[in-house]
């Protein structure tokens, strides 16, 4: 077939690079591929549609001011109260504790792997960190509830720590997102060209100075992106906070007590058997909408940071 097309082209004075006969098969295949790519767009549309639709119904029952600024979340008891702030504050307190753990540990691990570890060590350690990332979150939840709270936290702080508490959830979620911080930051630091380090050493910098004043700033966009992405993961994490964080929303900062997050509320309430159109059903979508928007902002911010501030080296 191709040979035929070539011979025809040779016969004519003007050489056309187009196939003599249009290949409909090729077009059909391309169409199918576009269709597949469209599924991912459809997924986003589906998520947004399902959330928006029920959220609008929900906001028809509950004034938006009461939802966004109310400090009492008890939607399923009588009389119900729909202030989402306790869930939001719980989510962010757990997220912040997680980042307090993940930022130093993740960045420390990244700096060690990128700047200090020998290639052999790096080759063995990186898969172990990836293994940590591959452990299902329910395992971390089990660990937080049956080991970390009773054996570590209650041993250290005694009775001020209840069996379900925000602190254990936060710390364990922090460990959960260490691989996110470590692996993206390590990639960013490894991508800093060797010539920058050599230049700094040539000017008399010590290893510490070169690492902290040259490599770290040069990789900052990747590092910030890794931290924002880790925060987004911490906010969206469900199983650890559901198992270890408790089911009682709290408008306060007592991390020793139960602290329900947005994800935990959704999982605890939306158990699949709730009646369509019921109050519980609608609250799941409204809280889901708020959660989706928060993580969307964090994700877009992280993508932006990488795009805008990425140093391009030749």
């Amino acid at each position: 077939m191709e040979a035929g097309a070539g011979a025809e082209a040779r016969g004519r004075p003007e050489i056309s690079l187009r196939a003599a006969r249009p290949r409909y098969g090729e077009k059909v295949i391309k169409g199918l591929l576009v269709l597949a790519a469209f599924i991912s767009v459809l997924t986003t549309t589906g998520i947004v549609l399902s959330l928006v639709e029920e959220t609008i119904v929900f906001l028809g029952d509950v004034p938006i001011g009461d939802f966004l600024f109310g400090t009492d979340w008890s939607p399923l008891i009588n009389p119900p109260s729909f202030g989402v702030l306790p869930l939001v504050s719980g989510t962010f307190v757990v997220g912040l504790i997680a980042m307090l753990v993940a930022t130093p540990l993740g960045l420390g691990a990244a700096i060690y792997l990128s700047e200090y570890a020998r290639p052999g060590v790096r080759k063995t350690i990186k898969p172990i960190l990836e293994l940590l990332a591959g452990v299902p979150t329910i395992v971390f939840g089990y660990f937080a509830l049956t080991f970390f709270t009773p054996e570590v936290l209650q041993a250290l702080f005694g009775n001020s720590i209840q069996i379900f508490n925000g602190l254990a959830a936060g710390v364990i979620v922090g460990f959960l997102v260490i691989p996110t911080v470590a692996s993206i930051s390590e990639d960013a630091m490894s991508a800093v060209p060797q010539s920058l380090r050599e230049g700094a050493f040539g000017l008399g910098g010590s290893k510490l100075q070169v690492t902290m004043r040259v490599v770290f700033p040069a990789a900052l966009s990747g590092i910030v992106a890794s931290l924002v992405l880790a925060m987004s993961r911490a906010v969206g994490e469900t199983m650890v906070v559901l198992i270890a964080g408790g089911l009682q929303p709290q408008w306060g900062l007592n991390v020793g007590e139960s602290m329900q997050t947005m994800t935990a509320f959704i999982a605890a309430t939306g158990k699949g058997d709730i009646a369509t159109g019921s109050t519980a059903y609608k609250t799941v979508f409204a809280v889901g909408m708020a959660l989706f928007l928060i993580t969307l902002v964090l994700n877009m911010f992280s993508i932006r940071v990488v795009r805008k501030y990425r140093q391009v080296y030749e």
């Binding site: 191709e2 691990a109 049956t146 993961r233 959704i266």
Partner: protein
């Protein structure tokens, strides 16, 4: 590179007349601090595995794998959850392999990067990869279990929800594998008169298969460890039968483990060891899948 840096740095510092000793101490302390950070992360992984192993090792037996759910902790097993997980994995694979690979091919081989709609697809996939898994559960509940498709809380709905969740991972891995095939292969094929699709199907894809397969296995192992979306989709917690088809109600290993964790335990019925044994079995399954993925990557990796 690090060894090189240190040998240059130390004499320089002394030559300038800085207090070399304090500087060296500072450097060493910093290095130690970074090592401690790394060590803590790995230590936690170790303690976690040890804790689960201690709690669950006694309970993990053939009886545990072949028994169904029971309110008597002594007789309960994980069979329905194990078969449920295998069914979910099959549905998920049947969905993500064609769709994920097709999307990756389109984005790498056909899409014109300057067009806004192609960039939209790309940013969209990046974003989807970071959407919390429980939001996919809400999507599954609203669109698959109820609403337009109204499948009910069945295997098909659960598998597709997990498929949508890990689809971005498959696409990203697939794109990397396809991009790693050098352009010269494509040009050679085209120069011999092959069409674009013939080039992709007979040259690019076979070369990219190991990378794609690795991505698919890793995605599946992420999918079967997910709990939150299945809770929302409505996986059952007490199931005493194996699923018989796509329209069968189901439970899955993480769901069963979650159920055991959240049951109040007492002296007669202690569900904790059951949960730990379930976790061990799940981790063994994941480890096996990951080993296959690593083996594939090492065995068939092509250096061009």
């Amino acid at each position: 590179m690090s060894a090189h840096g240190e040998t240059v740095a130390a004499p320089r510092g002394e030559a300038v007349g800085r207090p070399a000793a304090s500087r060296r101490v500072k450097d060493a302390a910093f290095r130690l601090g970074m090592l401690v950070c790394l060590g803590l992360a790995i230590l936690l992984l170790g303690v976690l595995l040890w804790d689960v192993a201690v709690d669950g090792a006694d309970r993990l037996s053939l009886d545990f794998i072949t028994s169904f759910a029971s309110i008597n902790a002594d007789q309960a097993g994980i069979q329905a959850a194990l078969t449920g997980t295998l069914w979910l994995m099959a549905v998920c694979a049947a969905f993500i392999i064609p769709v994920g690979v097709a999307t990756a091919i389109y984005l790498e081989e056909y899409a014109d990067n300057t067009k806004w709609y192609n960039r939209l697809v790309e940013v969209n996939i990046q974003n989807l990869a970071a959407v919390p898994s429980i939001v996919y559960g809400i999507l599954g509940l609203a669109f698959l279990v109820r609403g337009p498709l109204s499948l009910g809380p069945v295997i098909l709905a659960g598998g597709l929800t997990l498929g949508l969740l890990v689809l971005p991972v498959v696409i990203i891995a697939g794109r990397e594998a396809i991009r790693a095939v050098p352009p010269s292969i494509r040009e050679g094929s085209m120069a011999l008169g092959a069409t674009q699709w013939q080039t992709i199907w007979r040259q690019v894809l076979p070369a990219a298969v190991p990378g794609i397969a690795t991505g698919v296995i890793l995605s599946l192992s992420r999918a079967i460890g997910e709990t939150a979306p299945l809770i929302v989709v409505g996986a059952a917690t007490f199931v005493a039968f194996n699923p018989e088809g796509l329209d069968s109600n189901f439970t899955a290993m993480p769901i069963q483990i979650f159920d055991w964790i959240s049951r109040p335990s007492n002296d007669v019925n202690d569900y904790r060891p059951l949960a730990a044994a379930g976790i061990l079995l799940l981790m063994i399954l994941l480890l096996a899948m990951n080993s296959v993925a690593i083996w594939l990557r090492n065995r068939f990796e092509q250096k061009w």
